[in-house]
């Protein structure tokens, strides 16, 4: 009997990453979303090489030109190429999103695990996250921007502060569930140190809920960054962002609707793709949830 069961168990645990990818790609929406994200990534990383123009090159003779072969997404009020500026906007949005995910996952996981493990700190830490989450995302972000400044680092600090409590909540919840499970108890009974239990047994099991949460944080921070730069409270307007492109296009939108459409679609497609991937990841990582939905 065990001869039959063993190889089966081994193949199942052989390559969890491949299995996960397989499950993800089987869903068409996730596949399309990954493709969109890949395009955005290529546009962002390669902006300085593949962008057709310079993002600051003005061409007054061709200002507010409609989309054409020379300017796929048209030109803005200074004759700057909208496609090029969208690509540089992607660079900024994706950089902000990525750094915010790294920052909030790191801080949030530490806070969440500490909260789940150290009873004495749990109450205080959770009340602090309650307090931070009592501010609407944009309000907290914009107030922090008013205090910090207007650099990329400031945007990342502001959004990282906004999204850390959310990650901490997830990490704490999962920690509380996991630490009651027998394999953790077994490790403790075998005399493993607290650090070893956390690093070897707890953190790998936190990875999936945190990965899902990280994808959503990525999506939300792109939306909030766009709102910040739309309001003029993001990075300085000298660097093109999707948000500040839409803000400066407001005056001209009657004659040049592409000025609003192009960066708007960039935001929507990226955020939508990230949310779809997040949903797909959640379903693929937790088969119990898939049956429910």
């Amino acid at each position: 009997m065990s001869d039959v069961a063993l190889p089966n168990a081994r193949t199942r645990s052989a390559s969890p990453l491949l299995l996960l990818l397989g499950r993800l790609v089987r869903r068409r929406l996730v596949l399309i979303s990954l493709f969109i994200l890949l395009i955005m990534l290529v546009a962002a990383v390669g902006a300085s090489w593949i962008a057709p123009y310079s993002p600051r090159r003005m061409d007054i003779a061709h200002r507010l030109a409609a989309p054409s072969a020379a300017h796929w997404f048209g030109t803005d009020e200074f004759g700057r190429d909208v496609l090029t500026r969208c690509m540089y906007g992607a660079q900024l949005s994706l950089t902000v999103g990525f750094l915010v995910v790294i920052a909030s996952l790191t801080c949030g996981t530490v806070l969440g695990v500490v909260s789940g493990y150290v009873r004495q700190l749990d109450g205080l830490l959770m009340r602090i996250t309650d307090a931070l989450m009592a501010f609407p995302d944009i309000l907290l972000a914009i107030a922090l921007m008013a205090a910090l400044g207007a650099s990329l680092t400031d945007v990342v600090i502001a959004l990282g502060t906004v999204y850390t409590p959310r990650v901490a909540r997830v990490a704490r919840g999962a920690t509380l569930v996991l630490r009651e499970l027998q394999f953790i108890e077994a490790a403790e009974a075998l005399g493993a140190s607290g650090r070893r239990v956390i690093v070897v047994h707890l953190l790998p099991n936190l990875a999936s809920p945190l990965l899902v949460q990280g994808t959503f944080v990525f999506a939300f921070s792109i939306l909030t960054e766009a709102a910040l730069s739309f309001l003029g409270a993001g990075v300085p307007p000298t660097s093109p962002t999707w948000g500040n492109m839409i803000a400066s296009a407001q005056e001209y939108m009657q004659n040049a609707s592409w000025l609003i459409l192009a960066p708007g679609l960039c935001i929507v497609l990226t955020v939508l793709a990230l949310q779809a991937v997040g949903d797909g990841l959640r379903d693929a990582l937790d088969p119990r949830l898939r049956r429910l939905t």
Binding site: F135, D137, A226, V268
Partner: protein
């Protein structure tokens, strides 16, 4: 119930104390001299000293902190630097508009989100469900300022159906006022309706799997009776929770929406305060908005207990 309420109120006081502390910290991480930052580069040294004295910035940090908490408890939010009025007065003048906008948007979000969520759960796995779920995800990905500008472009500028922006002349009637709020409420309501739809769908799916729903179906009740009398009644408490969660989204979204539509509400006040570095106004708005959020969520938790007798206090 009384004990539960008292415990929740005590928890609320702790959270508000921490909120006040966070607001204090935000105002004091400003690099350099806040008074100089607020007055800009053209200010004279005497002006800056005067403002420092007015804001109590010369005292040591712990003393400032205690003074700040004291003024928060007394609901004294200080004076605006640019508006020549108290922060309380500025907020009170603008609150009614923001309140109308958020209530209208919340009503819209609920009216769209709940029926679609129920429908999607009932038709689970069908084409209808897939389209509605995808639409909800798209709705949650739309920035409200982009929806707003698109509405202005089509409904106001091209079709002349609604006024472009602003809040009308001071003597405008109720209906005219309302016409200025329709597009902002849609722009603010759509992203939030997506959230409500998804949550309604999930809670309905949970409930539809329950044995008593199967029993109700098995004994031959009409599908509509099963869905509304048996399933939805039990899903509505969790739907209440998500409406509470959207409060934060609505209040935050109002900041952006009011800017797009040039509505003189609290959100507009916050944005202009941020752009001018009017810190007393920013602090006051942070305190008041988070206070509203905490209060509404307390109210919802209490309502939750009232609606669902199984919830133990």
């Amino acid at each position: 119930m009384t004990r539960y309420l008292l415990r929740r109120l005590a928890g609320m006081v702790v959270v508000m104390f921490l909120v006040a502390t966070i607001v204090f910290v935000i105002a004091h991480v400003i690099p350099g001299d806040p008074a100089a930052v607020m007055l800009g580069p053209s200010a004279t040294a005497a002006d800056i000293d005067a403002l420092r004295a007015r804001l109590g910035l010369d005292a040591s940090m712990p003393v400032q902190y205690v003074q700040f908490l004291e003024s928060v408890i007394r609901l004294r939010l200080g004076e605006s630097i640019f508006l020549s009025r108290s922060v309380t007065q500025a907020l009170a003048e603008r609150a009614p508009l923001t309140l109308q906008l958020t209530v209208l948007a919340a009503a819209l979000a609920t009216l769209i989100g709940i029926p679609i969520g129920v429908l999607s759960a009932v038709k689970r796995g069908s084409m209808v469900d897939q389209v509605l779920t995808a639409a909800a995800m798209a709705g949650a990905s739309l920035p409200s300022f982009w929806i707003g500008l698109t509405l202005i472009e089509y409904l106001a500028v091209r079709l002349h159906l609604l006024p472009v922006a602003g809040y009308g002349p001071p003597d405008a009637g109720v209906l005219e006022r309302l016409s200025y709020l329709i597009m902002p409420a849609i722009a603010l309501g759509i992203p939030n309706s997506a959230l409500i739809m998804r949550f309604t769908r999930t809670s309905m799916l949970d409930v539809l799997q329950e044995d008593y729903v199967r029993t109700a179906r098995a004994k031959g009740l009409a599908p509509a009776t099963v869905i509304f009398k048996h399933a939805f009644r039990n899903a509505r408490t969790s739907v209440l929770t998500v409406i509470g969660l959207t409060v934060a989204g609505l209040l935050g979204g109002a900041i952006v929406t009011e800017t797009v539509f040039a509505l003189p509400g609290v959100g507009n006040l916050v944005v202009s305060a941020v752009l001018r570095r009017d810190y007393p106004v920013i602090q006051g708005a942070l305190l008041v908005i988070s206070g509203v959020y905490v209060l509404i969520n307390l109210g919802i938790d209490v309502l939750y207990a009232v609606l669902d007798p199984r919830v133990r206090y």
